[in-house]
């Protein structure tokens, strides 16, 4: 492997008695779309801020392209950030906002203009340069923030929940666009989010954060199909955990196992149980089923069949053996 774009080693950060980041070792490759996924307070944003240089680690090092930058100020690092609140300068026009980084670096005026307008075009905001940020919608501001960061051609772009403030439709649209832009410019994206869908759809690799540590790193598929811990299984998608006696009775094995809701079918035979709740959700219906063996399973069924099971009905659940995930099995070491 070539020199990683970002290498974190033994990274820790405490705020007073609270340890927000409790030892992170991570390498992110050049040109990767890397997501840091986790609930709020899991330390993902703090890690991002340490890469950007806004927080100084309590211990450990941050290296960018092999160069130790732990002690360097944000303005000495070749990274740019898209902030959660966009942090556009309210007194400057959109074009001046985008130009800011180039102006600071004393890029000649003519080139500056050209690059800023090009950047605005790449985020599909041509001709908006004269406006003030306050005269733009949330989605447009988000793109301006993106253009302002990209125009500097950083080696790494850090994105701190940039889609959090957008409504669902716009968010889905921006997910696709972000991915496209990342492919076009070919730089490393580090994307912080608490939204598992977002992380799974966009990323090459995902790191799942739990209480200041990384619970698992892998491709979206690995993380979803082979969660390393019950936490990962629960946070990335809905997990149906079978452990202890339930695992023993139903699977005949010892350990902790998970079956994804969409992999389970209501059938004539299989593990018996009672429907506890029916949740209709447009394209799919979710059933909560209490198994007799003592576990609650979520079953997701596409709304194709005409008949429907009701609350209190006795049902049987089946799934294919290959869809049973043994938690931690692939990461036994």
């Amino acid at each position: 492997m070539s020199v990683p774009a970002i290498a974190l080693a033994g990274l820790r950060k405490s705020f007073g008695p609270v340890e927000a980041v409790a030892g992170i070792d991570l390498e992110i490759a050049d040109g990767e779309f890397f997501s840091m996924l986790g609930p709020s307070g899991s330390g993902k944003t703090t890690v991002l801020r340490m890469i950007a240089g806004f927080e100084r680690p309590t211990a450990g090092t941050v290296a960018l392209s092999g160069r130790d930058v732990t002690e360097l100020a944000p303005y000495e690092r070749d990274v740019n950030t898209v902030f959660q609140d966009y942090a556009l300068f309210p007194h400057l026009s959109v074009l001046e906002n985008v130009e800011y980084g180039l102006k600071v670096r004393k890029v000649p005026r003519k080139e500056r203009r050209a690059r800023a307008e090009e950047a605005l075009e790449s985020v599909r905001l041509p001709g908006f340069g004269g406006r003030k940020p306050s005269a733009m919608s949330g989605g447009q501001r988000q793109r301006v923030a993106l253009a302002r960061a990209l125009v500097n051609r950083p080696k790494v772009l850090l994105l701190d929940e940039p889609l959090g403030a957008l409504d669902l439709k716009l968010r889905e649209q921006m997910q696709v666009e972000l991915k496209q832009i990342q492919r076009d410019v070919g730089i490393t994206f580090v994307f912080v989010t608490h939204d598992q869908d977002e992380a799974l759809t966009m990323s090459d690799r995902v790191a799942v954060f739990d209480a200041g540590r990384i619970a698992q790193v892998g491709t979206p598929e690995e993380v979803y199909e082979h969660p390393a811990t019950p936490f990962v299984a629960g946070f990335v998608g809905t997990s149906n955990l079978l452990s202890g006696s339930a695992a023993h009775q139903i699977l005949g094995r010892e350990g902790t196992f998970s079956v994804r809701p969409e992999k389970i079918a209501l059938a004539e035979e299989g593990a018996p149980g009672t429907v506890a709740e029916v949740i209709y959700a447009g394209p799919v219906t979710r059933y909560l089923v209490d198994l007799d063996a003592g576990a609650r399973m979520v079953v997701m069924e596409q709304n194709r069949r005409t008949g429907k099971s009701h609350r209190g009905e006795r049902v049987r659940l089946t799934w294919q053996a290959e869809h049973v995930i043994e938690i931690g099995a692939n990461h036994a070491s």
Binding site: A52, P74, Y75, T81, F83, A87, Y100, R105
Partner: protein, 279 residues
């Protein structure tokens, strides 16, 4: 019909609610200003000392033509500008430390420390400085005193009005999100550059808001000048002298119109910066 009645009643209620403040504004503020303006065009009979209530431009002619009044006006303007500039220079780092560096606990105490002097009597503070600045006073034995005079006036007025500059700047900085400072650093700007490029431009309205206080309070002051100003006189002293010793109220009113006029010009200029929304 029913609706009309309801509307009429609501109008009455609104009128009743607003009548007291409107009366106050009309009589106390605008009324007093109107009296000032009208009486500025009267004169005083030189022999009897009685006010002659006839329209005359005599007072204003005197103010414009006689050199002493022009000098005093320019001197007062200079003092007000100097005091405002000193307050801005002192207030910016103090307010920045309070709003962006200090811990919430320290910030709390600093705000109290800024506000407490405002509770002390103006006279007491001015006299305290008279003692400080005296020959053989505490300052003299330490670093030497400039003595009483214009310079002392500028120092004492800067001290007196500094809180009025710190507070609006502090409020402006509190509203400035930290992420803007981080974004600037992220885009390659060092501290000084961020200050000039982001903080200062965003604070301009706050600085103007503070300057309205420091400028107008300095322009109208005459007590500090009497206490530490030595022989120098400002506009306020002329007004005071004409009200008291000279017993020429119309002329005092005419002189008082000068700072009012200056403030109107200043406020009109400031209004264009959006600073009035900061008050």
């Amino acid at each position: 019909m029913d609706n009309d009645q309801g509307l009429g009643r609501r109008r009455w209620q609104l009128a009743a609610l607003l009548s007291a403040p409107m009366l106050w504004l009309g009589v106390a503020y605008l009324g007093a200003l109107a009296v000032l303006l009208v009486s500025a065009f009267w004169t005083v009979n030189g022999f009897t000392g009685e006010v002659v209530r006839e329209f005359s431009l005599q007072n204003f002619r005197t103010i414009v033509t006689e050199e002493v009044y022009r000098n005093v006006t320019l001197r007062s303007l200079g003092v007000a500008v100097a005091v405002t500039a000193i307050c801005v220079v002192l207030a910016l780092p103090m307010a920045f430390y309070m709003a962006k560096v200090a811990s919430p606990r320290t910030r709390h105490w600093l705000v109290i420390a800024i506000l407490t002097p405002l509770w002390a009597s103006y006279l007491v503070k001015a006299y305290a400085w008279r003692v400080l600045l005296a020959n053989d006073g505490p300052l003299d034995s330490l670093i030497g005193t400039p003595g009483y005079g214009l310079f002392a006036v500028v120092i004492v007025l800067s001290y007196l009005w500094l809180p009025y500059m710190i507070l609006p700047i502090y409020a402006g900085l509190e509203r400035l999100p930290d992420s803007l400072l981080e974004a600037s650093a992220d885009l390659g700007a060092r501290g000084g550059r961020t200050f000039r490029g982001v903080v200062l431009p965003i604070l301009v309205p706050s600085i103007f808001a503070g300057s309205i206080f420091t400028f107008s309070l300095s322009l109208g002051d005459y007590i500090t000048v009497q206490i530490v100003g030595g022989k120098s006189q400002l506009i306020g002293n002329l007004v005071y002298a004409n009200v008291g010793a000279a017993n020429n109220l119309p002329f005092a009113a005419a002189i008082a119109c000068v700072p009012v006029l200056i403030m109107v010009v200043y406020l009109t200029a400031v209004r264009r910066s959006g600073a009035l929304e900061e008050l």
